[in-house]
């Protein structure tokens, strides 16, 4: 075979003699790793790629390995959280990109499950999945993750994305019937508003067993032979469960707050010296402080003190904390104000707090739509009235004061 002359690339395309593993210099050889003086062989090669790697896919950090099943390899997930799980939880809880915490639906494994291992069904919201797998240390189970569009179990059941059809679909897609020899699915109790268990049984043969509400009870539920004690079946709303919701409630206020700030500046500017800069600023700041007191009272104090604030209607609870919060703000920062100004600011913080408290109904696990609608029909006109009174009194006080 004739030797072909190839133009050399700068930096040594032609391999050196050193390691004796060079191919015949027919084509310029590109150094396999790095460049410069060690064109080949550098450090010892690492392990071969995992047979489970797929072009274009990247392993999730919670995947520890794979379990081979008759339906193909199933990812085995860690039961421990790593740092990224902590960050994801924090980010989701403060409302950063809160609609993007999905994981791929399908079958997952924990430990070394066999054909008799129980199957736990959950949503493909990362926080739900994380809460579940963290409770499964030492257990051998399958997890069937539904495509609930990245929504948690209870909300997905209410919205209809955690429903019988989706369960049937994932059972069929995952080939679960080939993986397990039994016909039982453990469903989270809070998926029951969306799932007709009879329909699931009829369509794919799997019988739904209603699991506990909280993932923290799942191990005890399994040990007890799939029996839940009554407390495992009751929704709870502890102080921690309430407080964790506060940041998202507050971040949802960005847009209304912007409008409120604009209105406050506008109304605070009206007076005998129309839009004169001098009296506007302190007045606007006082009104902003009253708004802030309303936000704190409605979005923080109401969730925190929920069981102890008098009244059943959230709007009433919010009005009470708003009155207290507004009064505290006046006493701390604005003791020199006249009574009409105080009245205006109290009305503002009460209206804001009452409205925000009313909106917190959506985050609780015990308010009924009939009840919320009833309280809203009464409360919204009062809240609007209080806001108008606040604005009128605030502008009026500039002329009278």
């Amino acid at each position: 075979m004739a030797r072909i002359e190839v133009p050399q690339e700068p930096g040594g395309g032609i391999p050196k003699e050193a390691c004796g593993c060079a191919p015949p210099p027919v084509f310029p050889v590109i150094p396999p790793c790095g460049s410069g003086d060690s064109p080949c062989c550098g450090p010892p090669a690492g392990a071969r790629s995992s047979p489970y790697e797929r072009p274009g896919y990247r392993l999730c950090r919670f995947v520890e390995g794979f379990v081979d099943t008759p339906a193909g390899p199933v990812p085995r997930v860690a039961t421990r959280w790593d740092r990224s799980d902590v960050w994801i939880t924090l980010a989701a809880r403060i409302g950063i990109r809160r609609n993007r915490y999905r994981i791929a639906p399908g079958l997952y494994a924990v430990g070394a499950p066999d054909a008799d291992a129980p199957v736990l069904v959950t949503a493909n919201y990362r926080l739900s999945f994380n809460a579940l797998r963290r409770e499964l240390a030492g257990l051998n189970v399958w997890i069937l993750v539904l495509d609930t569009r990245g929504i948690n179990v209870w909300c997905a059941a209410g919205k209809g994305t955690f429903d019988s059809r989706e369960i049937i679909r994932q059972v069929n897609l995952s080939g679960l019937g080939k993986v397990v020899s039994h016909l039982k699915l453990i469903l989270p109790q809070l998926s029951a508003p969306g799932v007709d268990a009879a329909e699931v049984k009829q369509a794919c043969g799997f019988k739904a067993v209603w699991g506990p509400i909280r993932a923290t009870d799942i191990a005890r539920f399994l040990v007890a032979g799939m029996k839940a004690e009554p407390p495992m079946r009751r929704a709870s709303f502890t102080l921690a469960e309430r407080l964790v919701l506060v940041p998202v409630e507050v971040t949802l206020l960005r847009k209304p707050t912007l409008w409120m700030v604009l209105s406050i500046f506008l109304l605070s500017g009206i007076g005998p010296h129309l839009f004169a800069p001098n009296p506007t600023w302190p007045r606007a700041l006082q009104a902003l402080a009253a708004y802030g007191a309303g936000v704190v009272s409605g979005a923080l104090l109401v969730p925190a003190l929920l069981p102890w604030i008098p009244g059943k209607a959230f709007a009433l609870k919010g009005a009470l904390t708003g009155l207290a919060g507004g009064a505290a703000m006046l006493w701390l920062f604005a003791r020199s104000l006249g009574s009409l100004e105080c009245f205006a600011l109290l009305m503002l913080s009460m209206a804001v707090s009452s409205y925000l408290a009313m909106n917190f109904t959506g985050a609780t696990p015990f308010t009924s739509p009939s009840g919320v609608e009833k309280e809203m029909r009464r409360a919204i006109p009062l809240q609007a009235g209080a806001l108008i009174l606040a604005g009128t009194a605030w502008v009026g006080s500039a002329y009278l004061g």
């Binding site: 809160r98 609609n99 929504i151 948690n152 209870w154 909300c155 059941a157 209410g158 919205k159 109790q189 809070l190 029951a192 508003p193 969306g194 799932v195 007709d196 268990a197 009879a198 209603w210 509400i213 839940a228 009554p230 079946r233 009751r234 929704a235 709870s236 709303f237 949802l252 929920l306 069981p307 059943k312 209607a313 959230f314 009313m358 909106n359 109904t361 959506g362 985050a363 609780t364 696990p365 015990f366 308010t367 009924s368 739509p369 009939s370 009840g371 919320v372 609608e373 009833k374 309280e375 809203m376």
Partner: protein, 96 residues
């Protein structure tokens, strides 16, 4: 959830005791212990604890339980008032 009580006398929950087969599913799925099995029939023991989630009605094999299900969420209800029931997708970044 005895520490939390919401408005009384508003729930749309209804139980037809003659149709009840006593399977007890409603006592399993209800997150507020509204039902109890009494002499092989379901009984409502805490009507005002009902949050109208609809789990019982959805899973009652004899359709003895009925409720108008929904989410008790003020911002969702405001959306249904403004945009109508179909467009008021709970979510869209604004609630649960």
């Amino acid at each position: 959830m005895e520490t939390f009580r919401y408005l009384a006398g508003v729930t749309t929950l209804r139980l037809d005791e003659t149709a009840c087969t006593g399977c007890g599913t409603c006592t399993l799925v209800c997150p507020h212990g509204v039902f109890r099995l009494d002499h092989r029939k379901a009984a409502i023991v805490d009507r005002d604890g009902c949050m109208e989630c609809g789990a019982c009605a959805k899973n009652c094999p004899s359709r003895a339980v009925a409720v108008t299900p929904g989410v008790g969420c003020a911002s969702y209800i405001i959306q249904t008032w403004i945009k109508g029931k179909a467009a008021a997708a709970c979510g869209g970044g604004d609630c649960c």
